[in-house]
């Protein structure tokens, strides 16, 4: 759901380039003597960089409160503990052949600067030169920034011999092993770098990824990308639990950002890291999980509830109470059978049955349209989770992939792991810790 009233336009300077009585002439002008000075005469309002610009004024919207900007600078990167925005664009990129260590470092600096601008509603760059490509691609001009966050990560492959980063590779950043119930599509697997862009407006998230990729032309190229159209996890106690495409509430027992002890214990990398540059960072596991939606939809309601371990509508555990009542995993009926079945998803995923292990999930529903052969819906859960050690996910998924009753209805078809560096302070850049 949207956040009513919390809007802020993505805009640049008070006067967009082509609306100025331009000191530079267009190529057409140079060729034909035509100026564009009259084009923007009607736009007269001037505001400072911090307030809404003329685009928003032209849209007739109310002045938006600033609090819907998520701060870019901080101890941790935004987009992890940030209350999950409604939409996601998740992209992975590879460094192209020939790009070297310096190019990579410079790119990470450029990306930080660009992300700092975009996340407060500014353009990537402003120019008045008609004889050059626009610095910003422009599609988000006039759109509220809608809580945009941009989060980057480094894949295991970034630490190979190409950039001299092997000594900086965290011991925990190992390629994910083969896991049960996966059939990975190489077109949706791996990547040297990732960009997680989240916003309540998917156009704003798309714009962020597109412009970062564009800044990286000659250094990086796209690997794969997925759009998440609906969040499936709550990461804040202030938000209602959303539903995934199974129709069930998802994330009821997720770590909430307000639980700072759990964040420290399970999400943020601490002093224990062999690589000091990763402190206050995290690890991101992405799994593209296809759901066999039509099969699920043919299942009985009672069976669906037993597969998950919860009542479908209320989200309460089958052992009773309300959504946030703790499940009673040991409770049995009169016949001595477990009320929450032994292979129920919430049991196998629970911290009670996994030595206390938890993840911060931050996933989204996705769709890729229709399977042209089978005529079934292509889509499911684009699972994203943050953790202080990827072994947390590996251990959980080895159990879930083997025993979860849900496996009849899902399959993991894409996968990637990234080391997410810590946040930066003003004047510093994403690559600084890694390259220092």
């Amino acid at each position: 759901m949207g956040r009513p009233g919390k809007e802020r336009p993505l805009t640049g300077s008070p006067h967009p380039p082509e609306d100025r009585a331009s000191p530079s002439m267009s190529r057409r002008a140079l060729l034909g003597g035509i100026g564009l000075a009259g084009a923007g005469a009607a736009i007269g309002s001037v505001t400072g960089g911090g307030g809404p610009g003329p685009f928003m004024a032209s849209a007739g919207a109310a002045t938006p409160p600033d609090q819907f900007i998520v701060p870019f600078y901080g101890t941790h990167q935004a987009g992890i503990a940030t209350p999950a925005q409604d939409r996601l664009v998740f992209a992975t990129l590879n460094v192209v052949d020939g790009a070297d260590r310096t190019a990579l470092r410079d790119l990470l600096s450029d990306w930080s600067d660009a992300a700092a601008k975009m996340t407060k509603g500014q353009l990537v760059g402003e120019d008045s030169d008609l004889d050059a490509p626009p610095l910003d691609t422009g599609e988000a001009v006039g759109s509220p920034v809608s809580g945009l966050t941009v989060t980057v990560g480094y894949g295991p492959s970034l630490f190979d011999e190409r950039f001299g980063l092997a000594p900086k590779k965290p011991a925990r950043l190992v390629d994910l092993p083969a896991l049960p119930n996966e059939d990975l599509d190489p077109d949706y697997t791996g990547g040297d770098l990732c960009i997680q862009a989240c916003s309540d407006d998917p156009l704003v998230a798309f714009h962020a990824v597109r412009n970062l990729a564009r800044l990286g032309m000659g250094v990086v190229e796209h690997n794969w990308m997925e759009l998440g159209f609906g969040r499936t996890s709550t990461t804040s106690t202030a938000e209602a639990t959303p539903r995934n495409l199974l129709g069930f509430k998802d994330g009821t027992r997720n770590i909430k950002a307000q639980q700072t002890d759990l964040m420290a214990d399970y999400v943020w990398v601490g002093k224990e890291s062999d690589q000091p540059w990763m402190r206050n960072g995290s690890y991101l596991v992405a799994r593209r999980i296809r759901m066999f939606i039509e099969n699920w939809d043919r299942d009985y309601l009672g069976d669906q509830q037993n597969v998950i371990g919860r009542a479908k509508t209320s989200g309460a555990p089958l052992t009773g109470g309300t959504e946030f009542t703790n499940p009673k995993f040991t409770a049995k009926d009169d016949q001595g059978h477990l009320i929450i079945p032994a292979d129920a998803h919430i049991r196998l995923a629970s911290h009670e049955e996994n030595g206390g292990t938890r993840l911060l999930r931050r996933g989204y529903s996705y769709t890729d349209g229709i399977d042209p052969v089978r005529g079934t819906l292509l889509g499911g859960l684009f699972f994203i989770a943050f953790m202080k050690d990827p072994s947390q996910f590996i251990t959980l998924q080895q159990k879930l992939g083997t025993s979860d009753a849900l496996n009849e209805y899902i399959q993991h078809t894409g996968s990637a792991l990234f080391a997410v560096p810590p946040g930066v302070t003003r004047g510093r850049h994403w690559g600084d810790a890694l390259f220092s």
Copy 2:
């Protein structure tokens, strides 16, 4: 942009099935003697069918105003003159072998009833039977209905020999001819039926398509589907003009719903139709238009503006003024060159240069991720337009596809045409006019 404060939950009965002290027992209960009576005890609020249900209450949101429900019943189908919602799910389906005329007619009745419910925030169906598949797939429970509209159309192929509909085929409903600058993917072309679901919440639109397809199991199967993540056309004078992925405002000169004379002249089928059942209907042309985004992003700002014929940021025509100033297509510079180039998009698409012809565009930006071979963004414009005669589009596209400067950056990769029947009154169904 969202519509702050206008939210209404998609919900069903006050008491969801599994929250009742259920008279029916789950299959597990039948096998093991376990009831679920305790699961929902904490949900006690009861509201009428017209107000917000218990799900919204549990989400803690304010009471939403009813006006954000788009009426389902009316002279015309909703989703045409309706101010364009932010998100789209567009699906085409084919009737399966063996399904007959009666099955098709019944399906259209079921679809109307289901759409009438979903568009006012109700479930497709309610049940308390744990031993049957749920009637509604449930993922939108708790989500505001967000202006959902569901619009159906009939493809030319529906009027072949299978259902005895050949005598009902409108003369205007011809297969689109081969058009310039297209390279159609058969996986994104045609369809016996289409469903256009629009909502400010993509999960709500997805839910609508999924549930209609599910109601049609055994009668129809999915053909193709595309999700549109950002609207690109204004269809109301009350809305700001959004931008497409070229970064330009799109739809400035679109017909607005308030222009009832233009709607009558160019959008709604009138008495002139050879098929009376199509009166107050329209024709829907869908074109999946890939944009070569990286090529566009390398082009100079001045060139981009000449390709379109407008200033990028303000949207004003190159002949000056503001966004809504009429372009001066005949204006020339001192050298005698046209200021809006001869091959500019807005010139070739203009009603001035097409004998007055206009369309009601209602398109959305889409993305399918990354081209795995070229490493470029897959995406562009999912063009939808409504018109009283498909020849309006054919004439325009023959010109645009041949001469438009934009052709260097776009290609049509999917296509379909549908006859959109008129709206229905309460108690009537979509198929009634066609089958009467």
